[in-house]
Symmetry: C2
Subunit: 311 residues, 2 copies
């Protein structure tokens, strides 16, 4: 099969009308001007973001979900995506059919379609770049810079699981099943992001660890965020030291939970939303006037470390 | 420098307001609904689409220009792009500053800006994926499927130079300077694409060789295109066999000239446009009712071969 055959057989069935059946050089989209188009790109590289020997369907899901998480963090409804897949010739026939199946499954779950992209060979490693598109009512997306003094900092779900899953990826213990699953296939909080549009005034998804992403919110809002380490929602994993679990939450990546600020008068709204969505939303900090650093720990003089950096 | 430093120093200065200073997870764009947004993606992989030892500024320009060429082929005015760059740690500090300078130079030439993207490390090779965005008046983009029986097929510029440049890349002969330049830095026909919006009824840019791309037009229009091989505009290169030059035009890639069909009554309009733009536009074929294959040669019984295929 050549690239046109792969596209015909595996990718064309994933498209919607904006792709014009992939028969042009480009997709065509017309949007009502009462909506904003929200555009984001995330790349996954073999050997950096994934091992390469995972099920290709899981790699596809992770690629889509890290992008969906960016839509969630803007409070946007995802609508479509395009895909650039570079893969060594020798891997294509095994990888592409399963990869496309993974995309298809998640397209159904998240209500999105493919609109175009590029399929090329690469010399050695797989590279997957997805650009995702979402929409919000004009002017209603949630940025990173809206936190105010006195606002509370909330986080969804539980933190650290994904890093623990990565660190114990080769373990066969049942204890790590949930965390390995979370590392492989994160759960983007798309519905939560949309629900938060009238509650949160700044938001980010945690892709690089709580410390780094909380710092982004504080820095963009020109404030200091004070984290209460006792409140961080952590998983219960026997035989793992609490310090190690906490570190995974603070500095590990790939959690894809939402981190947001809101006015302290919204506390009960957040609690109601948590009940409605059956999803833990935990108050873990408060924003204060900027003093010395963008992030500090409550009642704890230790200094935050750096999270994962690519360079 | 870590990725945030690189982004701050080299990429933030390339952005426009839609990037919101790259401080969010996504760009935000609001378009008048009287316009269509045209979206296309092209990837360049080290070792496949470029050698890797070229000047990074030239690699940047090629990356942008192959995408700009897709806008040209739709008759769209390019407005902005996003960039996913994956690069091994060890290459980043040498590569990124020059690469960003190449982007900046071409941004000025083509009137476009960066709106976002992703910068990650990769294990071994550089991968550059650009998604480019353009606009046309609603419904006015040019597709690949509009050719009618009796329409003429035109091509811009001269074909085959890029493949000759690639084949002679290590030659120091002056004779190959122009072709090497064309291989390194193609010239997307953006202005021509926009001018053709009331003339052409189907269009494609030649990225995979004349034969393959002419076949795309015929196939999508469900017709047979008859190419007149005597009319193909070829470069004059001494000491190179005409047969080899013709093969480079027919099957070589990376020319990025525009190939379009139009009603035969538009012949004088095309000539006027050629004069106005000081750009050769050559009539090289005619569309006929489908018979046997999508492409045949006039007065020549030889069969077209395949162009480059990734898989």
């Amino acid at each position: 099969m050549n690239e046109f055959d792969y596209i015909d057989k595996y990718f064309r069935p994933l498209t919607n009308k904006f792709a014009i059946n992939l028969k042009n050089d480009a997709a065509i989209f017309n949007q009502k001007s009462s909506f904003d188009l929200i555009i984001s790109t995330d790349t996954l590289c073999e050997g950096i973001h994934f091992f390469g020997n995972e099920n290709p369907a899981d790699i596809a899901k992770k690629s889509l979900r890290v992008n969906l998480s960016d839509m969630a963090s803007m409070g946007a409804k995802p609508i479509f995506y395009n895909l650039a897949l570079s893969i060594p010739k020798i891997k294509a026939s095994q990888f592409i059919p399963k990869f496309a199946k993974g995309l298809q499954d998640d397209q159904e779950i998240f209500g999105i379609k493919l609109i175009g992209g590029d399929l090329t060979s690469s010399l050695k490693h797989i590279n997957i770049t997805i650009t995702i598109f979402g929409e919000t009512v004009k002017g209603k997306s949630i940025s990173r810079d809206g936190a105010k003094i006195g606002n509370y900092l909330y986080v969804s779900g539980i933190l650290g699981l994904s890093k623990i899953g990565l660190d114990n990826f080769n373990s066969n213990s049942k204890e790590f099943e949930e965390s390995k699953r979370k590392y492989l296939i994160p759960q983007p909080r798309v519905d939560l992001g949309i629900e938060l549009k009238n509650i949160a005034n700044s938001m980010i998804d945690i892709s690089d660890g709580l410390i780094q992403d909380a710092t982004h919110l504080a820095k963009n809002s020109k404030l200091t965020v004070e984290l209460n380490l006792c409140k961080i929602p952590l998983p219960n994993i026997k035989n793992l030291d609490r310090k190690l679990i906490l570190d995974s939450a603070l500095y590990g990546g790939d959690d894809y939970e939402l981190l947001f600020s809101c006015d302290n008068s919204h506390e009960s709204l957040v609690e109601q939303l948590s009940d409605k969505m059956n999803l833990k939303l935990t108050k873990i900090g408060v924003f204060k006037e900027f003093k010395k650093g963008f992030l500090k720990f409550k009642n704890n003089t230790s200094k935050p470390k750096n999270s994962y950096l690519h360079f």
